[in-house]
């Protein structure tokens, strides 16, 4: 049933009273700061010298775009998102397919395998920081035992290895997300579709390719988009494991932003924030258009 159409004064009052508290919170503590941040981006605004905060046009943006660390962070963000996403997606998809059919103990298995979910990115980061420890880390120990490496590696202190390490941790954390979401998508495929295909004698693989995949493709596109935005916005793990080091080697755009805030130069932080927002927005629009195009084909 559709919601009632008549909108009386009493109803208006009820709706207003119910929605207002939440709306006020969001306006004051989310939208107001975001807008103020956008304004600060065009001001000289250093926390340690607030005597004068003049508008300086694009100076903050010029300063940020002139910094090598910003461009390194941008490149790293690309690597961080693409590599993490690739493995999270395929491993998660595989896990979802294996868990699709009911078997004895499936519920219990899911409960255990989904546990990283309850942990924060920060704690996950600490866990992996300890495991990747250059001297007493268990990963070094296991790789030595397996004969993969000959001597202990300072994973988090070596430029190339540091990025690999944070990505490995991120993949480990994110597979679950895809498994859960893809399982939900798979369950949405109507059973009749399979029965029809079975009558035709379609092989399992072909059935997957021609029935399952087309049906869940729009959902997959949305899941992937959400995930990309989410990984971009996820500095917690890197913050805990390397703090963006060594020498900016694992900085992504959001860890860079956090450093600007911590450094007290709010003008620059605002500029980085706006750049991140622009990046996210243009990417979302581009991505949604691309996937819509595919669907209408």
């Amino acid at each position: 049933m559709s919601p009632p159409r008549v909108f009386t004064a009493r109803r208006a009052a009820f709706v207003g009273l119910c929605l207002l508290p939440g709306a006020v919170f969001v306006a004051v503590f989310t939208y107001y700061p975001v807008i103020r941040g956008a304004v600060i981006a065009f001001q000289r605004y250093n926390l340690f010298d607030l005597t004068s905060t003049p508008f300086v046009g694009l100076e903050n943006f010029r300063a940020v775009l002139g910094e090598d660390r910003f461009w390194t962070a941008l490149r790293n963000t690309g690597t961080w998102v693409v590599v993490s996403l690739f493995f999270q997606f395929f491993l998660g998809f595989g896990l979802a397919l294996l868990l699709r059919r009911h078997f004895r103990g499936r519920g219990l298995y899911q409960a255990w395998v989904f546990f990283p979910w309850a942990m924060s990115g920060f704690l996950i980061g600490l866990l992996w920081r300890w495991m990747f420890n250059g001297q007493f880390g268990v990963i070094n120990d296991l790789l030595l035992k397996a004969g993969v490496i000959d001597e202990r590696v300072g994973f988090l202190a070596t430029p190339g290895w540091a990025m690999t390490s944070v990505i490995v941790a991120n993949i480990w954390y994110g597979v679950t997300f895809f498994a859960i979401m893809i399982m939900a998508a798979l369950q949405s495929v109507p059973k009749e579709l399979y029965e029809a295909a079975a009558v035709d004698g379609a092989a399992r693989l072909r059935q997957f390719w021609h029935v399952t995949l087309p049906h869940i493709r729009p959902t997959l596109a949305l899941i992937v988009l959400l995930r990309i935005i989410w990984i971009l916005n996820f500095p917690d793990l890197i913050y805990a494991m390397t703090g963006g080091g060594p020498a900016g080697g694992t900085d992504i755009i959001t860890t860079f932003l956090i450093q600007q805030v911590a450094g007290g130069d709010y003008g620059r932080a605002g500029a980085v924030g706006l750049l991140v927002l622009g990046l996210l927005l243009s990417f979302s629009v581009f991505y949604l258009n691309a996937t819509r195009f595919e669907r209408s084909r």
């Binding site: 919601p3 009632p4 909108f7 109803r11 208006a12 009820f14 709706v15 119910c18 929605l19 508290p21 939440g22 919170f25 969001v26 004051v28 503590f29 989310t30 939208y31 700061p33 975001v34 103020r36 941040g37 896990l95 294996l98 298995y109 409960a111 255990w112 989904f114 546990f115 990283p116 309850a118 942990m119 924060s120 990115g121 920060f122 704690l123 600490l126 866990l127 920081r129 300890w130 007493f136 268990v138 120990d141 954390y173 979401m181 939900a184 989410w230 971009l232 500095p235 917690d236 805990a240 959001t254 932003l257 805030v261 709010y266 932080a269 605002g270 924030g273 991140v276 927002l277 996210l280």
Partner: protein, 274 residues
């Protein structure tokens, strides 16, 4: 052939379970080893001697009891307020059509996409203007704001699954709209409300970046803030760190296990991270 496939499946699932659980196992084992054993080679995969000294240290040297209490108070209050706001707001969004309804939905959805970090610096200024730096109340306010959109969106989804006829029957019987909501709809929705509360609680319990921006006095630190000050020291005391991790993770593990069947809703409404 079929048996082979089953065997392969068992092996793969078993391997993944091992990969998933090992880090958790390792942090627990580390927390139970004496200091000398944590930092000695060859590594032991089982503590030679089990000790609880790191847990004792936490509560005696580091003032972990205070941090725990702070985290608990902030998370409980913020989650309760957010749940009430979500129950009310979600109801109107699900049951009424009114001018501005789409705008409110959009305004809430957009907050789930924009990075929190953009607002970090201006929020610091706002908190400072309001005199709420280093105050638990300030943290609560910001957490409520952070979680309102999620709570409202997820509750709206839960309401939409409750048939309108149920309410109408109650209203025909003479109950007011609010009466029908409180006596008929809310009881049906209790599990969903509980799940919303738990999601919100865990988010607050785990939140790091806002907390470290607003809080640096010892008596207002939450657990993540305290753990953050452990890692900014030059030498990390991994024994205490492991113990702190275990202590802070146990409550969230239990709570999440309780609401596992709502995880997909949580993910879609943007509550669960990972």
């Amino acid at each position: 052939m079929r048996r082979l496939a089953t065997a392969a499946k068992v092996v793969v699932l078993g391997a993944w379970l091992l990969v998933t659980l090992f880090p958790l196992y390792w942090i627990v084992v580390t927390s139970l080893k004496p200091q000398s054993e944590i930092f000695s080679l060859p590594l032991r995969y089982w503590p030679g001697e089990v000790t609880f000294e790191h847990y004792e240290e936490l509560f005696s040297f580091a003032d972990f009891g205070t941090y725990l209490a702070n985290s608990l108070v902030v998370s409980l209050v913020a989650a309760a307020v957010v749940t009430v706001i979500g129950v009310l707001g979600g109801y109107t969004l699900a049951r009424f059509s009114f001018p501005g309804r789409g705008a409110v939905m959009l305004a809430y959805l957009v907050t789930q996409m924009i990075p929190l970090f953009i607002a970090l610096a201006p929020l610091y200024l706002l908190m400072s203007d309001l005199g709420l730096l280093n105050r638990l109340a300030g943290l609560m306010l910001v957490y409520v704001a952070m979680l309102v959109p999620f709570a409202t969106i997820i509750m709206r989804g839960f309401y939409e699954r409750v048939p309108v006829a149920l309410e109408e029957a109650a209203q025909v019987d003479g109950a007011s709209r609010l009466g029908a909501m409180v006596r008929v709809v809310i009881p049906v929705m209790l599990p969903g409300i509980a799940a919303t509360f738990i999601f919100a609680f865990v988010q607050c319990w785990n939140e790091l970046f806002l907390a470290i921006t607003f809080i640096d006095s010892e008596d207002a630190k939450t657990i993540p803030v305290a753990m953050n000050s452990f890692i900014t020291q030059y030498d990390i005391d991994w024994g205490s760190m492991a113990a702190a991790t275990v202590v802070s993770v146990v409550p969230t593990l239990v709570l999440f296990a309780a609401i596992r069947r709502y995880i997909v809703e949580g993910l879609t409404a943007g509550a669960v991270k990972g």
